[in-house]
């Protein structure tokens, strides 16, 4: 066939993968399903069983649900959780969307700096920041006492109340809304606004009648997410609610499992099922609502650089207000965290510089529980993050780059962990391990918590990974197939290689998430498998603020270091 001079090629038999493509795909699919959705079954089972699953005997029963629904404390907790979630959602949407417009559509001085600063609460682990808030704004906190002592101003907040807690929560949740709104604004063609302006609308009217309606889907979407997250949050009510005995759904479950003797595990399982069902329904509704987004899609190719609304004389007052806000929700809490960690006592009556010390850090290093938490968390974040990244890559490829018949189901399964409250994930794995491994060996190892953390962060890693997979043209794998590669060989030799940067980004995000995760560990922790977040939570509640803050500082430092390296090496952009 080739020219006379062509060398003859002696072609051998085609290389084959060990397993046929369908077998590999079934194995990955089944593995994903068992790990992600499988653990829900034992929770439901436990909630419908009269005795804990690790005890022999027992019978199906509805008693757990009856106990739960007839417990006034449960309803009190539901009321508090709802009030908290509603307040947080409203506050974050108002604040987040205002920030988005102010920072992307106006000539506010310093808007570039503020845009970066607003992401700090998203990047920094929530618990250390919360400790900073408490150190500064609680009734005995530094700022509160300082105002009472040195100014005639009244202290209008009480972060130990439900509205106060949502005030703290808004500081952390508003950036989430901001990110969604910013995304919507960025994708919006600013010529739409210019058209309104040239039709005679004032800047404010344009904002009200054109800009805001177009970002409504983003606001709706993010408010549903904030609402769902607020319903399940554990650390915040545990730290702030305990002193006034305010119970949320999460703390109600936590207390009835850990602090009530005998532990009411059936009732807690029933509560977890109710919580899971509620959050799932919320997110399904959200999918349905945001499905109708085409109406808000703006036509047109390249968006020109965003038209800037001139603020005029409001420029500097707004700058001052924004600056004050950032000082209040970021600078002061972070300062609180640092001061608590680096001083022996923190009160306005003693000059903090005179009591600087590294005692708390020494405690962290010397205390086996503290130091073990650090090594455990790092191990989980590194090993778990790496394995989870590989799993995400393999599952995403089956879901999007194969002819596997159940591939679509996998796409839903991979984002489902986002709908699972951390507490429920933890309990789900607790009961799974009880059933599958009665010896308790697995549960006593770091693998137990590692697997739970990994599954919980899966959706996050996937959402960072998938766009990059989608951006790789399918012709690239088709070319491998027609060249003679079977499915798995084409995945191994082409897709995996090309996706290495995507996997690196995914790993960095998984690492950071798993380093600071704690809710699933509540039910899984055993002596020896402590992790940073849970140690902070438990010891803070027990009253040892200094070393906990030191641990928080260490956690923040590792997070910033890894994110910085990730950004430098792989262009990781958190929250983007």
């Amino acid at each position: 066939m080739t020219t006379a001079t062509a060398p003859v090629v002696r072609v051998g038999r085609l290389r084959h993968s060990w397993l046929p493509a369908w077998a590999t795909q079934y194995l990955l699919w089944a593995g994903g399903l068992v790990l992600i959705v499988g653990p829900i079954i034992p929770v439901v089972w436990a909630s419908l069983w009269s005795t804990p699953l690790y005890e022999a005997g027992g019978a199906p029963t509805l008693t757990n649900y009856q106990d739960l629904l007839s417990d006034p404390a449960w309803w009190e907790a539901v009321r508090n959780s709802l009030e908290f979630a509603v307040l947080t959602t409203i506050g974050s949407v108002v604040l987040g969307s205002a920030m988005a417009v102010l920072l992307t559509r106006t000539d506010l001085p310093g808007r570039r700096f503020f845009r970066g600063a607003l992401l700090v609460p998203v990047i920094i682990p929530g618990l250390p920041l919360l400790l900073g808030w408490t150190a500064m704004y609680s009734p005995a906190g530094y700022v509160t006492r300082w105002i009472e002592e040195h100014t005639p101003l009244p202290v209008f907040w009480d972060i130990y109340s439900v509205p106060g807690m949502s005030l703290v929560s808004i500081g952390i949740a508003a950036p989430v809304v901001y990110l969604f709104a910013r995304g919507a604004l960025a994708s919006q063609d600013s010529s739409l606004e210019m058209a309104a302006r040239s039709a005679g609308a004032t800047p404010l009217r344009t904002l009200r009648t054109v800009t805001l309606p177009l970002i409504r889907p983003a606001l709706l979407n993010s408010s549903m997410i904030v609402f769902a997250l607020s319903l399940e949050v554990l650390g915040l009510p545990l730290i702030l609610g305990t002193s006034n005995d305010i119970q949320f759904v999460s703390t109600y479950l936590y207390d009835n499992w850990l602090n009530v003797v005998p532990s009411r595990q059936g009732l807690v399982s029933a509560g977890a099922v109710v919580l899971l069902a509620t959050v799932t329904v919320l997110l399904l509704v959200r999918n349905r609502l945001t499905g109708d987004v085409a109406r808000f899609h703006t036509v047109g190719g390249k968006s020109t650089s965003a038209a800037t609304v001139k603020l005029g004389s409001a420029r500097w007052p707004l700058f001052a207000a924004t600056g004050a806000y950032f000082t209040a929700v970021i600078v002061i809490p972070l300062g609180g965290l640092l001061l608590t960690a680096f001083t022996t006592t923190l009160t306005p009556f003693i000059d903090p510089w005179s009591v600087l010390s590294t005692t708390h850090f020494e405690t962290v290093v010397d205390d086996p529980v503290f130091s073990r938490s650090i090594t455990n968390s790092l191990t989980i974040a590194i090993v778990g993050g790496a394995l989870a990244t590989l799993a995400i890559a393999a599952l995403a490829i089956v879901a999007h780059r194969s002819a596997f018949r159940h591939r679509t189901s996998l796409q839903y399964v991979m984002v489902y962990p986002r709908a699972m409250p951390g507490l429920v994930t933890g309990m789900a794995f607790f009961w799974s391990f009880v059933i599958l491994d009665p010896t308790g060996k697995l549960r006593a190892s770091l693998w137990a918590i590692g697997i739970a953390f990994a599954v919980r962060s899966l959706a996050l890693g996937y959402s960072a990974f998938y766009p990059q997979l989608a951006a790789l043209g399918e012709d690239l794998d088709r070319a491998a197939r027609t060249s003679g590669a079977d499915w798995w060989t084409s995945v191994k030799t082409v897709l995996f290689k090309l996706l290495r940067p995507a996997m690196a980004v995914s790993f960095v995000l998984m690492f950071v998430a798993m380093l600071s995760d704690y809710d699933p560990a509540v039910f899984l922790v055993t002596p020896g498998t402590e992790v940073m977040g849970l140690t902070m939570l438990k010891l803070w509640v027990a009253g040892s603020a200094g070393p906990v803050a030191a641990l928080g500082v260490i956690q923040v430092a590792i997070t910033l270091l890894v994110l910085g390296l990730g950004r430098l090496l792989f262009g990781v952009r958190p929250g983007a």
Binding site: P7, V9, V11, L14, A479
Partner: protein
């Protein structure tokens, strides 16, 4: 080199019929083009040969090797079909050098390293990339990347070469050069080639034979000359090149001709029926703009003579295109001779005035 036989190929996506009973025979060593508007099924046919789409019915064979046979339950995976495919996007792997890209199919076939290097060198020389073996794709131009893709497709060597709109990403000048180059290369190595394009110039200039497709149906198979000069139906006539379509009805049928009353023209025209048999009722006449003679000699025979008014003139460098009004009908005429005055006499050669049954519903 084996023949390609496709028979009874059908494929439906949900309710959309992508291919309807497509049968094509490709001869050994020929370059065959699948031509048609987008959505006509040409790419689906190509993907089906490569094994990247599953047809619902039919059979595909290359020589003795059956690649797909619905009835016998044969469906070789793409990796076992030994087709060299060049994708529209080139799909050159950015993480591998030029040599690695071309060597990949050989590696999968356990070709020894030394032999592989030699073969890669040979193929790269063939596609004129010998000097760029160690480059990475991002260091290459679009045309060079395309040649890498071609080299990769030819490496092992394949039974068939399949090309999916390979020139659509090149700019016009480069495209013309690439056509000639590819045509020469294909002749040189004599590989049976299936080429998909929506560009008729490309199809006409490169193909041994053209398969014109529309809505999943093969409309005509023939050499470029046959397709252009004797389109099988109105769709082909209208799709390839420019053509004047005149609607009318049959007055009389003689041994060789039809006498047709064209709507809007006072005198009947003589035309050559495309299909044999009896013609009556509505017909559509088709005549190429360059077939029309301006101011024919008084003695010339075999012409319908009509007079028309000049409406508009577009100068296109090597020729001029006129829009004329012939009674109630608009007519496009292409000529290199200038028309003087507002009125002109035209000669429509009877042999090139083709009559198709039916009104102009394009087939």
């Amino acid at each position: 080199m084996p023949d390609l036989q496709i028979s009874g190929l059908s494929k439906a996506f949900d309710d959309n019929v992508a291919l309807h009973d497509v049968s094509i025979d490709g001869k050994d060593g020929e370059l065959m083009t699948l031509l048609g508007p987008s959505g006509c099924g040409k790419s689906t046919t190509l993907w089906s040969i490569a094994g990247l789409h599953d047809p619902d019915r039919g059979r595909i064979a290359v020589g003795d090797a059956v690649l797909f046979d619905h009835e016998r339950g044969i469906d070789l995976p793409p990796e076992a079909r030994e087709c060299g495919v060049v994708f529209q996007s080139y799909a050159v792997w950015p993480n591998m050098t030029v040599a690695e890209n071309v060597g990949y199919p050989l590696k999968l076939r356990r070709v020894k390293a030394a032999e592989r290097a030699e073969r890669v060198r040979h193929v790269l020389d063939l596609v004129e990339l010998g000097d760029l073996a160690q480059r990475y794709p991002h260091q290459l131009s679009g045309g060079q990347q395309q040649r890498v893709a071609l080299g990769r497709a030819l490496a092992f060597p394949p039974r068939l070469l399949l090309l999916d709109e390979p020139f659509s990403n090149l700019d016009a000048k480069l495209r013309e050069r690439a056509r000639t180059w590819l045509r020469d290369l294909q002749r040189e190595i004599g590989i049976t080639t299936v080429f998909v394009t929506h560009d008729q110039d490309e199809a006409l200039s490169m193909s041994d034979r053209i398969v014109v497709m529309d809505h999943g149906v093969v409309r005509q198979v023939g050499t470029p000359e046959e397709i252009y000069d004797a389109p099988a139906d109105l769709f082909v006539a209208d799709f390839i090149g420019t053509i004047n379509l005149l609607e009318g009805h049959v007055l009389r049928q003689t041994e060789h001709h039809l006498e047709v009353a064209v709507d809007g023209i006072p005198n009947p025209l003589l035309a050559a029926p495309v299909r044999g048999g009896e013609h009556r009722g509505a017909v559509t006449l088709a005549i190429r703009p360059e077939a029309i003679v301006i101011e024919p000699d008084a003695g010339a025979e075999g012409l319908n003579r009509v007079s028309a008014a000049v409406v508009d003139r577009s100068y296109l460098g090597d020729h001029v295109r006129y829009r004329l009004q012939l009674g109630g009908v608009a007519l496009t005429v292409q000529t290199s001779a200038p028309i003087h005055g507002a009125e002109v006499t035209l000669g429509l050669p009877i042999a090139r005035t083709l009559a198709y049954a039916g009104a102009g519903d394009r087939g």
